[in-house]
Amino acid sequence: MDPQISVRDLNVFYGKHQALRDINVEIPQKQITVILGPSGCGKTTLLKSLNRLLDVTEGVRVTGQVLIDGENIYAPAVDVTEVRKKAGLLAQRPYPLPMSIYDNVAFGPRIHGTVRGRDLDVAVRHYLELAGLWDEVKDRLHAPATRLSIGQQQRLCLARGLAVEPEVILGDEPTSALDPVSAQHIERRLLDLRGQYTIVLVTHILRQAKRLADHMLFMYMGDLIESGPAREMFANPREDRTRAYLSGEF
């Protein structure tokens, strides 16, 4: 199968500091790819470069190409909002929009004009079910989203992101702010979504990577050290640094 995302010679600079060095990697379709590595190695930077969310930060310079479905998203004529429609982000901390639960999920379809009128109700329910939140909120869809618990909010953010109908879901340590029960919930949802979406997750928890990853990228200090199918990497890491990290040495 063709890779969903191809990264070619990607370099990212924050001012003078180089955060990513010559990244070349391919991310397979409809699998969970986990980006692993110690803090500060550039995992989040790489993740955010995949949907051009890096553009939001001031002073960022990006060279190289990121191809999604064969199209370079950093080409000059490309519309950033369309890129982000294709690849959505689930952040570390949930940030519900200041509106009701219903409106949060309906936000994406409304903005992009993809679903209208009564179909919205059906769509909202569908995505809330996908995120595993429907049963808990079906009676209070119009309550403010801020009243939910943090685990519920994160699932809401997942539903909200899915409602945009992306092809890729990017997750930036999406369970690190959650209690273990909610974290487990999110992990299960992600595993369920695997066949329909390409998922790229950043984590620094080895166990989580073991549970979720089909494919893995190991990063260290801005470089991509190794990448490959997860099982192989865990059993037989090729690089010394990978081996050291996976065995918990740092």
Binding site: I73, A77, V78, T81, E82, G113
Partner: protein, 289 residues
């Protein structure tokens, strides 16, 4: 990824529309500053001369055609200068109390609220209040009266500025000073004030700038005169009132004095405002971070 759906088109048109609106607003705001400064300079520059700056008005109240605005310049400097000193003497201890002696008490919260409220009271109300106090005490419109009214006006500005400055000093400095066994007084005066000195000066300059430009507070309380300030108990001229009283006369020479006063006042105030920023930036380089 170049979609041409109507929703997409609408979004991007909307984005560009509002971006233009925002840029225009910003330029309008910046432009209005330019317009004001231009007016003051165009009107005031021709009126400036050595005589204008060094002489008092001659030939009687309102009608005198010669002389200058020295009375107003000196008067304003005295009024605002003394008021700023007084406001500093009261405001700095207040801020020290609020930040060092009793930082999170309920009292501090109420005092801060009262200061916020005072900050917004119109200067004419300070003038009216000052006037009633003066009547009570038997004081007539004078330099002293003006100083009192301006002190009241400057006090909330001064205290708030001091408060902000002291707040910015890292807690560690304060705590390590206390750990050495110093009293609150010593920490406040010997450590904090020294650290905060640039900010204190800036705050004082800010309050000075506000005080010297105010007309409504001194209207009732300082009176006006063509003579140079000689006594605390006699009326004193001020630049804002020099503008106010002399702008409306039919005599162009007198109007010239108003324009000149406005230009001098603007230069002083802008100089203080910009200068205090630069001063703060330069002095804070030497301060412990």
């Amino acid at each position: 990824m170049t979609d041409r759906r109507p929703a997409w088109k609408r979004r991007h048109f909307e984005e560009r529309f509002f971006k233009t609106l925002m840029r225009v607003s910003f330029l309008a705001v910046a432009g209005s500053l330019g317009a004001i400064l231009l007016t003051v300079i165009v009107k005031g520059l021709p009126a400036l001369s050595l005589a204008m700056l060094t002489q008092t008005p001659k030939g009687g109240y309102y009608l005198g055609k010669e002389g200058g605005i020295l009375n107003a310049i000196l008067g304003s400097l005295l009024l605002a200068g003394c008021a700023t000193v007084l406001a500093l003497l009261i405001g700095l201890p207040m801020a020290l109390y609020l930040e060092i002696y009793a930082p999170r008490s309920r009292w501090a919260g109420s005092v801060r609220l009262a200061l916020d409220v005072m900050w917004g009271i119109p200067s004419i109300v300070y003038g009216a209040f000052g006037f009633t106090l003066m009547l009570l005490v038997g004081l007539r419109a004078s330099l002293l009266g003006g100083i009192l009214a301006l002190t009241l006006l400057e006090l909330p500005i001064m205290t708030r500025a001091m408060d902000e400055v002291i707040k910015m000093i890292p807690k560690d400095l304060e705590e390590s000073a206390f750990a050495l066994g110093t009293t609150r007084y010593e920490v406040a005066v010997k450590v904090i004030v020294r650290q905060a000195l640039p900010g204190i000066i800036t705050g004082a300059l800010l309050a000075f700038g506000r005080g010297i430009g105010d007309a409504a507070a001194v209207l009732f309380t300082a009176g006006y005169t063509d003579r140079l300030p000689t006594s605390l108990f006699r009326p004193v001229a001020s630049l804002p009132l020099a503008v106010f009283f002399q702008l409306g006369t039919p005599y162009p020479e007198v109007r010239q004095r108003a324009y000149a006063a406005a230009l001098i006042l603007t230069i002083i105030v802008l100089g203080v405002s910009l200068g205090s920023r630069l001063l703060a930036a330069r002095l804070s380089r030497n301060v412990v971070k």
